[in-house]
Amino acid sequence: MSKIHVTTTVNGDEVEFLTDPRETLLDCLRDHLDLTGSKEGCGTGDCGACSVTVDGTLVSSCLMLGVEAEGKKIETIEGMAGKDGELHPLQRKFIEHAALQCGFCTPGFLVASKALLEKNPDPTETEVRYWLAGNLCRCTGYDKIVRAVMDAAAEMRGAA
């Protein structure tokens, strides 16, 4: 099948790739752009390990085709820390709270949590739990993840 040329912006950089029209955005990020931080846990939109934002909207990149990225602005886990490597408060809090065990779900949780805090800087525990219900973690039982997100939110509000 002939490939399609796509130009898009990923983490602030303009990038181009050739994609088979059957490939997902997740395939393109991982296989064509070497951005392997986004993970495939299911490929069916059920686990959230592939979470990215597209023009500011949280999406499962396994459910979007690579060709649909044309002209969009995509943010992935690789773009979450500052240019100088300074961690986003969520990243720092995930480490401090031991909110990861195997860490495979972590990029998806971080991207989804960041999207939450941009919409709702002061979420309740229940709001955090429902927002993150699309992200599966099999290791932690979610307790420390929820705490890390609440704590990061507090810090970002200047309430910590």
């Binding site: 099948m1 088979d20 059957r22 490939e23 395939d27 991982r30 296989d31 951005l35 392997t36 931080g37 993970k39 495939e40 846990g41 299911c42 490929g43 069916t44 059920d46 686990c47 390990a49 992935t76 886990i77 690789e78 979450m80 820390a81 961690l87 990243q91 720092r92 995930f94 480490i95 401090e96 709270h97 031991a98 990861l100 065990q101 195997c102 860490g103 495979f104 779900c105 972590t106 990029p107 971080l110 525990e125 229940t126 955090v128 739990r129 429902y130 993150l132 219900a133 699309g134 599966l136 973690c137 099999r138 290791c139 932690t140 039982g141 979610y142 307790d143 420390k144 993840i145 705490r147």
Partner: protein, 756 residues
Amino acid sequence: MTKNGSSEFRLVGTRPNRPDGLDKVTGRARYGADASMPGMLHGAVVRSPHAHARIVKIDTSKAEALPGVKGVVTRADFPTGLTGEDWDLQENTMAGEKALYDGHAVAAVAATSPLLAQEAARLIEVEYEVLPHVIDVDDAIKPDAPAIRPGAADHSVPEGSPPNVVRYLEFGHGDIEAGFAEADLVMENTYKTEATHQGYIEPHACVGQLGADGKGEMWVCTQGQWYIRRMCAAVLGIEAAQLRVTPSEIGGGFGGKTTIFMEPLSLALSRKAGGKPVKIVMSRSEVLRATGPTASASMDVKIGMKKDGTITAGYANFRMQGGAFPGAPVDMALYCAFAGYKLANVKHVGYDVLANRPKCAAYRAPGSPMGAFAVESLVDEMARKLGLDPLDVRLKNAVREGDKASYGPTFGSIGLVETLEAAKAHPNLKAPLGPNQGRGVACGYWFNHGGETSVSMAIGEDGTATVSVGTPDIGGGRASIALMVAETLGIDYDDVRVNVVETGALGVNEPTHGSRATFASGKAAVESTNQAIKEMCRRAAAEWGIDPEAVEWVNGAAQPTSSNAGKFAPMTIKEIAAKMGSTGGPISGHYEGLPSGVGASFGTHVVDVEVDPETGRTTILRYLVVQDAGRAIHPAYVEGQYQGGAVQGIGWALNEAYIYGEDGRLQNPIFLDYRVPVASDLPMIDTVIVEVPNPGHPYGVRGVGETGITPPLPAIANAIEHATGQRIRHLPISPPKLLKAIKSAAPSGPTLQAAE
């Protein structure tokens, strides 16, 4: 850093950031599917759509003709003549004469892209003769069930047993009939649990390369790189030493990544394709259909109890299926079933039964959750009948140090009583319960494990330390080992780097299984460190011109003792390390062996639930895990093991199950339908770390990974009975099942007991 409990240590018991944290929050950590190699091909696997079928013919010609296809393999490409477990592994890797379950691999193909490989896989034509199949364990054990593998039974199976029974065991002590005669109440019930999957979020993935010279390499997500090496070598008929296996970061395993599935296929395809590396990444549905779920179980339990709660006898008869291969953990289930109870009279009978399902793999405390579900449910039913407090009944019968275990050995130091007492004292037990709410308690057990262990550590020229371990880090193992080595050496936590290394770097290591990484690799790392310390003391003694025996290691420095005390200034690790090139060369320490002194771990869980009488849905209101850690090296990761184990158990109790159609096909092979708990299903999971140090470990570690999945199954069933009056003896306690029970018990509408 906050300290937990005792402060006898400088670092052990603190909560520093984990060494791999930065890589894992930035997306840099490399997991199974994140590696590529030059010239790499992609593999896809053709799988049987039938639960049981003879393979009549496989036509690969169309696939091979597709441009970009570089190799196709079937069972014909594997050596013949394997026996025992090796044959089982080979047969599970690639079906031979028959496909034994829905999802069983029958062929594989390598091509220049993943899409092309999938296209080629669809072009492989397999002709099947469909055979009668059997799925449920109670059906599979019937004398007239379809025989799955005639001749697979081992010597333990009595003559004339049904055709799918492949292993039989029977053990116990005392006289159960006499015990039942002493009891005031004897009850007997049957309990069932369904197969569940470990559900690690990372699907299996590997890149394998194998040349015509028999030399190969593999990058793979696994709990045990040496197991991968040994098993792949056996299945492919190559030399283990010629295969170098490097473990990736691992996205969860829970026992399910201690064996091989598609790994030998990537090597076989690579050999076929002229030695080019071949990457295979499973899809989620392949993971659910064709990798190890746990076993399903059907269990009879009979218990005799006196009015005061004393248990006079216990009997367990368990039937378990672990797929189309021997290996259901019926032995472990029976060993653990009554492990918490001091019993004069106990008898166990077990059957390992074949069914047309995927080969089961270990899943967190394999067998123990099933056994606990049966026994801890019945103990609760009896306590309720006798009007006794369920925690008191357990305390009354609890095993203590020196007691003979239900499965034979004598317990060393254990902390069951301490967990029960800590649970009793916890504020959750005083929380008031409203209408439709109930409270359940249960205990659980896991042996823990030592196992083959090889560790190496070396002092750097700057006085820092590198530790090489063979146990992949699933939940913070590197952090706990670094803490223990830094504590022992008297240096900073950040001055120790722990690496999980490939098969060429150490002697054979068993996987990270049996809750052994912090116990066994940790103990080995401490012993290696002590060797290096001894050598550093020797170097200092040589410089001072005194007897090495007269030097001790204090706070990261060698210092003279006894008559020489104070004569020389302490020589720090940095000073000794800086000079090592001229004082005798590298300074290192090693451990090879089977660490003894394993400490078993008991836990007690308390759960509060609310049942919606309209829908039958159960909500977890409060959850408490109390477990004996021996000593928590890094308490945050101990809590994490408790919480994660409990939530897997909650999923098993309420939602998760393999659902098969009449046709023997798995009907829920995606996460949408195989529903694991999500954040909005749960409250915070409260934890209490009980520390009854294990005398067999330098820092008292027991191992904490597994026990926590065991109590939730019965604890939740017990809480649901408390809330609704309905005793459900078949998991999962899904909303429709519970609703039906509530409705049929009260035709005029549910009358739920308000708990006290």
